[in-house]
Symmetry: none
Subunit: 186 residues, 2 copies
Amino acid sequence: MDDFTRKMAQAFDAAPIGMAVSHHRVLDMCNTSFAEMLGYDRANLLGQSFRILYPSHAEFDRVRDIGLKAMEENGSYSDERMMRRKDGVPVWCRFRARTLTPDDPLAHLIMSFAPIRDQLDGAQLTKREREVLSGLSRGLTSKEIGRELGLSPRTIEDVRARLLRKFEVKNTSELLSRMSYARPTN
Amino acid sequence: MDDFTRKMAQAFDAAPIGMAVSHHRVLDMCNTSFAEMLGYDRANLLGQSFRILYPSHAEFDRVRDIGLKAMEENGSYSDERMMRRKDGVPVWCRFRARTLTPDDPLAHLIMSFAPIRDQLDGAQLTKREREVLSGLSRGLTSKEIGRELGLSPRTIEDVRARLLRKFEVKNTSELLSRMSYARPTN
DNA sequence: TGGTTATACGGTATTGATACCGTATACGAT
DNA sequence: ATCGTATACGGTATCAATACCGTATAACCA
């Protein structure tokens, strides 16, 4: 076995960020960080469906199509999403993916997962708030998010208002720049 | 060569995030994302000192000691730092490191680098665009940004429209979620 | 058991964002 | 010299966002 390959494999395994490889949403390989982040032993995780790593079947279905178009075009995609630890505790992650099969993006995916620290200590987001936030980060309007979730646009506006209050921000733009990491630009 | 190792090596190389391995600040291995992020061919990068990847010798010296203590204690460290692309353009990164040699952290380091600005590097933004983006991330309206910069609100709207076109996003919320990367734990 | 919060929805009023139309100057590249 | 882009500004039209008013149910907690 050549040294090059061995070095890369070791770097993958010891990487300071969670990484995983999937084929059609089944985990084919992951590193130690990934398994630790989700509270599993790697041996118990390999070969499993990603379903068990999401909070619900609905969430699992929801995230499937998100980013498919971006991956068909650019080969890569990133967003923020909620994962589910083995003990049930949700983990909010910066998710990045690159596909090796652009024609069928999910066929061979390489992913990285970086846990996001919540802005408010202890103030975790509700399921609805995360769903709405997901739509907002994709640039959807309240009307569009309502359609996606089967709710009235008015309800989405309520959730938005609650998010703005919780994070003490003036509008959605400031909210999204706080949810991710925004530096001053000068 | 076993399949396990081969899979991990491939995942390392095709990872959607820049990764590198160093021995005493000399690059021993990196993946495609890392080389691309910094504008090099991997072949020209391996074996080089990290010095060439920082904006100045002073910065190279400064970052050496940062995080040494954290790595001796936890084995890992992360911050945001400026890297220097081959063409001289600075790139802001979320930097993460794990050492495999806690007694002498720099002896064997595994690192990941995520550009804080994703789709487009910050250098491609004009001064005006950065000024306006700064206001937007603080939740200011076009009118308020105009006051701050001594410009007409209409001009701010022009800059916003240009930003939306450049990044191919639907609105300011999506823009800000693309411009910034997640704030990680630690 | 009452208080708080999340959820869900309706109306209305105001402000903001975005997309067009237009003009004009400046600057760098081909 | 002309093309493209950034800058800067004006008007108008339309849709979205936000802030209020209200009601109602369900969950949880002290």
